[in-house]
Amino acid sequence: MQQLKQVLEEEVLPKVRKPLRYLGNEYNAVRKDWQAVKLRSLFAFPDVYEVGMSHLGLQILYGVVNAEPDYLMERVFAPWPDLEQELRTRAIPLFSLESLRPLADFDCLGFTLQYEMSYTNILNILALGGLPLRAQERGNEAPLVMAGGPCAYNPEPLAEFIDFFVLGEGEEVILEVFAVMAAHRAIRQGKQDKKEVLKELARIRGVYVPSFYEALYDEQGKFQGVKVKEPGAAPRIVKRVVRDLDQAYFPARPIVPYLEVVHDRMMLEVLRGCTRGCRFCQAGFLYRPVRERSKDLLLQQAEKISEHTGHQEISLTSLSTSDYTCVEPLLQEVLNRFEGKNIGVSLPSLRVDSFSVNLAKEVQRVRKTGLTFAPEAGTQRLRDVINKNVTEENLMEVAEAVFQEGWTQIKLYFMLGLPTETLADLDGIAALAAKVLLRGREILREKGSKQRPTVTVSVSSFVPKPHTPFQWEPQDSIALLQEKQKYLRNRIREKGIVYHYHEAEVSFLEAVFAKGDRRLGQALEEAWRLGCRFDGWSEHFRYELWREAFRKTGIVPEEIANQPLTYQDALPWDHLDTGVKKEYLRREREKAYELATTGDCRFAPCSVCGICQDLDVDTRLRKGE
């Protein structure tokens, strides 16, 4: 151990870029006595440090576990290729940040699955840690490997590699999981019987052990569903939900990185969930119902994190912060309390309305950058299809407010390839952008400003996601998406509009991995063997290697991404239950084709998606409390 530490610090780290990524001695990092605890765990984030350290979930789970005297949790991130190279040449195993121990020393490893394009990094972390990739090849001595996060709601492409998945909000269930693992080892002198411990874990609500289930296929190889193989395993696994956000664990002492990370600020989570009901949005269906945190508690929490981190900015985070029912008073009080300390406030997610622009105006006294909004589609018809309840009036009102208030840039997010899309919808995007720009010019001219407005149009491609009303929808082929991207580029002529789009190949692979079944694991492993890493980073993305991996493993990815599913088809995630009924998703999809919108159950009547009825939770708003 001492030797490894020395080699790393003296020889390896001085050679790599940003060695601080691998040190683990940041302020508030927890280094516990290895011998003094009953269970040693490692949080594995399958992306680079700066991304992982911006993730609130990591700080929450790290805090929850390390608050327990019997457990410890350390961290590991995907090593950047320069470190991977050094580790491979010297045959040094990948190590944890806090104690520089190899992965194999831990009792369990937990991956967070935030996006599909991080999957090759998961395999790479296991491999560099010296662990066999496949769950069944890891014996009793190896750490148990678990995973959670949004992609765990269709984890089938990873089923061969991960011992168990946890569905739902981690802080709600992690200590139950740890208690079972610790008790299991306690009566076996620190050892584990893997099969046995998995059986014990499978009894916990929300835990899914894929090896206890079997995927069925017909003669043509068509997926037929997942069946229980191990007696006693639950036929359906239901997610775990925090009922009351005020009671949930809150990380008052988050780790303060030395390096500049992507979100380098305090994160104050004001609410969880969103019931606006956008039909393409997976987060909207996974994190139901809406649960707000009370304002007074948030203020106390802000004081605490500020005291323990020294950060200069507080971010009021959630899926849609303008929807927080106490957002104005909260913002006022946060500004009052922290202005004297020169601590700023940021709002990461703004609804398309002038109310949100006013909030932004409050927090940005200096109008530094522009503001970002997401109308998502170019025509009212298509916005009704996706249930994005934003009108052109809303957007123009926003544009007006933005330019009036002194910003000169506005960024608009749209999606290409949405169900029922026609060229008119693409024309609509170009027309909206032009209209916003024109309004911006008028306003700036009226104000006598010399500056020119800029409108950035950022276009991503629709990815059909499990557990959404559009889960049955096909994705446009790569060629068609590219054609649409080009078409749109030609429609956008004005100087003053900047046009960005995402690589269609990446969106395609996202759809493949979002919707795929267990067989996809082979292609994933092959792609990793061929050298795919950091697929979410355009400088590392190697599409030709992915094609080769599919070819070698006989998988036709187009069949997964580009083919529509019928209501009769078994879905690889049918046994995993978010609480939202499949019937409800189907009804929402049918409404989409009828151009019928669904109201937000916070303000409109409950549309009975099923979660509050089945999971014994409810929408908790704080207004008037």
Binding site: E11, L13, L20, Y27, G310, H311, N342
Partner: protein, 235 residues
């Protein structure tokens, strides 16, 4: 009031760049709940001024910063408070109030001392080490290439190399260096190392040198005529 604080950057913090260090320091100063001073204007920033930047990989026991505070604070209490909340590897050593109308640290500091360890691929005797140093010092001039805003230029570092001592220690050549630093002229320890290597390689060959040179700053000083003061003495 203004405090002049001496701090160290130890092993655990050696991979911090100056920017990382400034960020970590600002956060710690905020956590210490001292009455900090911010600049005026739309985008107020914390008022701290650093004596000198330290490169990634270099440790130090003698770094300095000036910290203006609102109201009077006992220097010792400030040191304690900051030390309670500094991250691993950074430590306040001492502090004094700046009494005179003194210029910025950056303007007055003109001497830096370093200890350098150069691993060697073969052991040497103390006498050999001394000969090497004598050879180096015998050079009347030594040009290094510097990249600045106006492109590259050659600079003679010999006049700014004020002291050089060396001795042998377990397959290592240990150097103590005193160089000119600051706005009047600035010699980096890396440049002196280059000069030493260049001179000695002439007789010993390139293969003589091992990897992983360690540089440690012993302190920053103010040299006035023949006297040398620490910044705390000149507060």
């Amino acid at each position: 009031m203004r405090l002049c604080l001496q701090y160290s950057k130890e092993e655990e913090a050696r991979f911090l760049s100056h920017l990382d260090l400034m960020r970590a320091m600002e956060r710690a100063l905020r956590r210490a709940q001292l009455p900090l001073v911010f600049s005026e204007g739309f985008n107020p920033h914390l008022c701290v001024s650093y004596a000198s930047a330290l490169a990634v990989g270099v440790t130090s026991e003698g770094e300095y910063l000036d910290l203006p505070l609102k109201g009077d604070w006992p220097a010792e209490e400030a040191v304690q408070r900051i030390n309670a909340v500094l991250p691993a590897g950074l430590k306040m050593v001492a502090a004094v109030p700046v009494t005179q109308r003194r210029e910025s640290l950056m303007a007055i500091i003109n001497l830096a001392r370093y200890r350098v360890e150069i691993p060697l691929r073969q052991a040497i005797e103390q006498k050999e080490a001394e000969e090497m140093i004598a050879q180096v010092l015998a050079r009347p001039a030594y040009s290094v290439l510097r990249r600045g805003k106006k492109g590259e230029r050659q600079v003679d570092i010999r006049p700014g190399l004020w002291q050089l001592q060396g001795w042998a220690e377990n397959n290592k050549l240990i150097l103590h260096i005193a160089v000119q630093t600051g706005s009047q002229g600035n010699v980096k320890p890396e440049e002196v190392i280059e000069m030493v290597k260049d001179t000695v390689s002439f007789s010993r060959g390139e293969n003589f040198w091992g990897e992983n040179i360690r540089i440690h700053r012993l302190g920053l000083y103010i040299r006035e005529n023949d006297k040398i003061y620490s910044p705390l003495e000149r507060a």
